[in-house]
């Protein structure tokens, strides 16, 4: 029924969107023809997915009269400000009247960053003069700010302002070239307020140790470890500052709170060579790479779209040679600077992109139903896009449709969202079942009471012992004995009274089953692995390789260190040591289906218990089978691990040699064939 409805809605949507597209395009920037690049988004499994065009290339500005090395672009109202660094002035381009106006000619040297405040004051960061200039709307120079001379600025610190933003009270946040300490903040009078934000230096363990123990002279001989510097910055209407750092993959974009801490905590999908960042009217983050790729993120840094690219041998609208700046106006039109050619490329959002913006914005404002409808429409247009599922899940969660929310979060690969929805579903189930549980509990209590009154105290319950005839079954049942009396049991294994090769093989297979079930069958809140995305051979190797290696190496080490056990007894003993693993790990795995993430402690605790128990049994098994003292056992285990590493190493070397040998042999045969043929 649902699909039929979809089929019916599809064409209507398409027509509707087409009309919308024409309407918006007429607004400010005329849109020219088709897209020259493909728009990508993230699919639900995290791979790139080709989707509808989000932005179409619009008119190219300054085509007749290109600028020289423009460095920064800023939109204020209907006016486009461009820092033309090569020309040495700032150009203001009126998008309605198409007139240009020039600021600071003769005053400025190389303007590289600009910002326009609400009072229409133009702030210019001039890296040639190392100063910040302020002009009023008429182009009159209001003030200029030099390097701050406060002590706290640092005696060695350079002041070479490259980019800047200014807040309502006139506080300037300046990215200065080669300033490792963060963004420089100057007050309205040019006084130094402090550094804002930071990039940290990731240190390896070796470097930490060097820091501790090296003398000053030794440290001087090491490479200087300095943090990455901020490359560019932007601010949104609320005054939140966003920065980009080149080469910081995963968190190239930072959204700073008032104390400078990055509030985007997750790893972002980003690029190494971002050059500029801009913030859309409702908080979307836009970033452009030097090679002209444009990324759009939502307010929390989740990727929405990625499009654009480099014009390699030809000039095409929408493709850039070297991008140096990006700006966005309040209709989501993008303006991107091409530094090499001195042009401004414009991009006009399609109805598809506008729909996405509206849907996300409505979610943020709390119109969940209408946001959900828009997202459903988007889903038909875009397909398997992760962000749509993510926001659908969030909407459904707010609308208390927990089942639907769980499904959507699952598709978006969002474990915490899923866990939240799952908790609610489970709560509903508990609510439904609780009265019955209560009733059953009361009934049993009453029943027991009545029975006790009726019959008086009965004789203690006699445990019934099953007499198991089959040897292999009794060997398997002996596993339970290992749980209760491990030392005695391993002694019996050692004397050969219990256990056989077949019971051991069955136990190993059961242990593998438990492992595979745990590895692949965990609840979605606890694991993203499924049978679909994991190769069975990998799982088999992951279990049997270490286990087999451990048993063989342990036996070999014990042979050298007067161990008393045979290989067979070691093999059987180890299989019994895995009994807690076989018995309790599946229970933990089942628990992951019942517990939400806020109860994850119980999972970690119980799996820790299982692992610890198994480890203790392994230690006891080695001890009993070889008649070792504790320190000998520990020595045996250490040596076993060492030997495992050596074996793995040796095998990988042999493997590499083998590859090379085959390669040489095949190239020789090819050579011979070639010679013979000629």
């Amino acid at each position: 029924m649902f699909t039929a409805k979809r089929l019916f809605i599809m064409p209507i949507c398409a027509i509707l969107l087409a009309c919308l597209a024409v309407n918006t395009a007429a607004a400010r920037i005329p849109q020219t023809g088709n897209s020259t690049s493909i728009t990508y988004t993230l699919s639900s499994d995290g791979s790139w997915l080709r989707t509808q065009d989000a932005y179409l290339p619009g008119e190219i500005l300054f085509q007749d009269d290109p600028l020289w090395q423009p460095e920064d672009v800023y939109v204020y109202g209907n006016c486009l400000y461009i820092a033309a660094a090569g020309n040495g002035y700032v150009v203001a381009y009126d998008l309605d009247t198409r007139k240009t106006r020039i600021y600071g000619e003769g005053t400025l040297n190389t303007p590289t960053g600009i910002y326009v405040t609400g009072r229409q004051e133009l702030y210019v960061a001039d890296s040639g003069f190392s100063k910040v200039f302020v002009f009023d709307a008429e182009g009159k120079l209001l003030s200029e700010y030099d390097r701050p001379d406060e002590m706290t600025f640092g005696a060695q610190a350079q002041f070479k302002p490259k980019k800047l933003v200014v807040d309502e009270s006139g506080v300037m946040s300046i990215v200065s070239e080669g300033s490792y300490d963060g963004v420089i903040q100057l007050g309205a009078e040019g006084e130094f307020l402090g550094y804002f934000g930071y990039n940290s230096v990731p240190m390896t363990l070796l470097e930490l140790l060097q820091d501790r123990f090296f003398t000053e002279e030794q440290k001087k001989q090491l490479f200087n470890r300095i943090p990455l510097t901020f490359y560019n910055l932007a601010s949104d209407p609320d005054g939140i500052i966003y920065t980009i750092t080149q080469s910081a993959v995963g968190n190239a974009i930072k959204k700073h709170n008032i104390s400078g801490v990055n509030i985007i905590k997750h790893q972002m999908i980003d690029e190494k060579n971002f050059t500029d960042i801009a913030v859309g009217p409702t908080g979307q983050i836009y970033a452009v790479t030097q090679t002209g790729l444009i990324f759009e993120y939502d307010n929390d840094g989740n990727l929405l779209f990625s499009f654009g690219g480099q014009a390699i041998s030809s000039e095409r609208s929408g493709l850039l040679t070297i991008a140096s700046g990006i700006a966005v106006d309040d209709e989501y039109n993008l303006y991107v600077l091409d530094k090499e050619r001195g042009l401004v490329h414009t991009y006009v959002p399609t109805a598809f992109a506008n729909l996405a913006h509206e849907a996300i914005n409505e979610y943020r404002q709390g119109s969940y139903t209408s946001s959900r409808d828009k997202l459903n429409m988007l889903l038909m247009l875009a397909g398997n896009a992760r962000f749509i599922y993510y926001y659908l899940g969030k909407n459904e969660l707010q609308l208390r449709n927990h089942q639907a929310a769980a499904v959507f979060f699952r598709q978006a690969g969002d474990r915490s969202g899923y866990s939240e929805a799952f908790w609610e579903i489970r709560n509903d189930v508990i609510n439904a079942v609780l009265p019955w549980m209560f009733a059953v509990f009361l009934a049993t209590v009453l029943f027991n009471l009545v029975r006790r009154l009726w019959k008086g105290k009965q004789a203690a319950h006699q445990g019934t012992r099953f007499l198991v005839k089959s040897r292999i079954l009794s060997d398997l049942m002996f596993g339970f004995n290992v749980l209760r009396h491990p030392i005695d049991s391993f002694y019996e294994v050692k004397t050969g009274a219990r256990g056989s090769i077949w019971s051991a093989v069955i136990l190993y297979l059961l242990a593998f089953g438990a492992f595979a079930f745990d590895y692949l069958g965990r609840g979605f809140a606890y694991s993203l692995r499924t049978t679909e995305n994991t190769s069975p051979l990998y799982v088999i190797l992951l279990f049997f390789l270490p286990v087999a290696l451990f048993i063989i190496c342990s036996y070999m080490v014990s042979e050298l260190h007067d161990g008393k056990g045979w290989f067979m007894t070691v093999f059987i003993g180890m299989s019994y040591a895995l009994v807690p693993w076989i018995c309790f790990l599946p229970a933990v795995t089942v628990m992951t289906h019942v517990l939400a993430l806020n109860e994850s402690f119980l999972i970690t605790f119980s799996s820790l218990l299982v692992y610890a128990w198994t480890t203790v049994l392994v230690i006891l098994a080695i001890r009993e089978i070889h008649e070792y003292e504790l320190h000998q056992v520990l020595g045996n285990i250490m040596l076993t691990f060492f030997m495992m590493v050596v074996v793995i190493f040796a095998f990988s070397i042999i493997g590499m040699f083998w590859d090379k040998a085959i390669e040489i042999a095949s190239s020789i045969t090819r050579e011979v064939k070639y010679r013979v043929g000629h």
Binding site: M203, I430, N598, L630
Partner: protein, 299 residues
Amino acid sequence: MKSIRGLADRYSHWVLLMPFLVFFTLFILLPVIFAVLLSFTRYDSIQSPVFVGLQNYLDIFTHDTVFMQKVLPNTATYALIVGPGGYILSFLLAWVIAQMPRIPRTVLAIVLYSPSLLGSVALSTIWGVLFSGDRMGYLNNILYSLGLINEPVAWLTSAQTLLPIMIFVGLWSSMGVGFLAMLAGILNVNAELYEAAYLDGVKNRIQEIYYVTIPLIRPQMLFGAIMALVNTFNSPGLGVALSGSNPTPDYAGQLIVNHMDDYGFLRYEMGYAAALSVVLLTFVWIMSKAAYRMFEDRD
């Protein structure tokens, strides 16, 4: 005359039991009964209680999301680590101390015992300095000088760190009465038994503990286990004292007792708080049953 004498003979034990019975009834039995009765009512301590049946219990398990999402997992985490952990710790420390000569033993016993005597307020002042959220807090300062952090961590008011710190402090102060009892028990074990055990083939101290010490101090171990249980479930507001607020930030350190406090004395929903206390009582009761099963004398 004779009949009176016979009567006195038959019922005199009641007379002798009287003082205990009176005080037990007055101070323990009656409050528990009243709490259970109160838990079936809605009571705000101003108007008289209104009977609502099982509504409070239903609310706890079906509507109180804070209880199910935060309080219960927190209590489970805290109790599972601090209960057994503190218990094992106090046994091991009691054993180690018991090996020492008299004077250092006494001094160390007092030192180890004193944290459990301090109230939570004293605890929070001591640990508050260490875990202070500004740059001057000891831990922050040390991490700074090692270059591990860039800005101070608000240890006690951040939802991520409060519970681990509570567990740490809980473990630190877990050497209570149970610890003293076990110490006394270990000291009371007859030294000749160890010698006999060595003659029978005990080879090291671990076997000595396992085969001689533990079986002999089983009653003290049981007492220690019960005390550890009751203490962990009832630990009076460690999280509240450390973070300085009830409810604790984001309910990160909220245990059942804090939740009771919150409802009983901040919101004045006495009936609901009483129901919570009955739930807590049930937990403790089940747990101590389990402890009895583990340590009871089977011989």
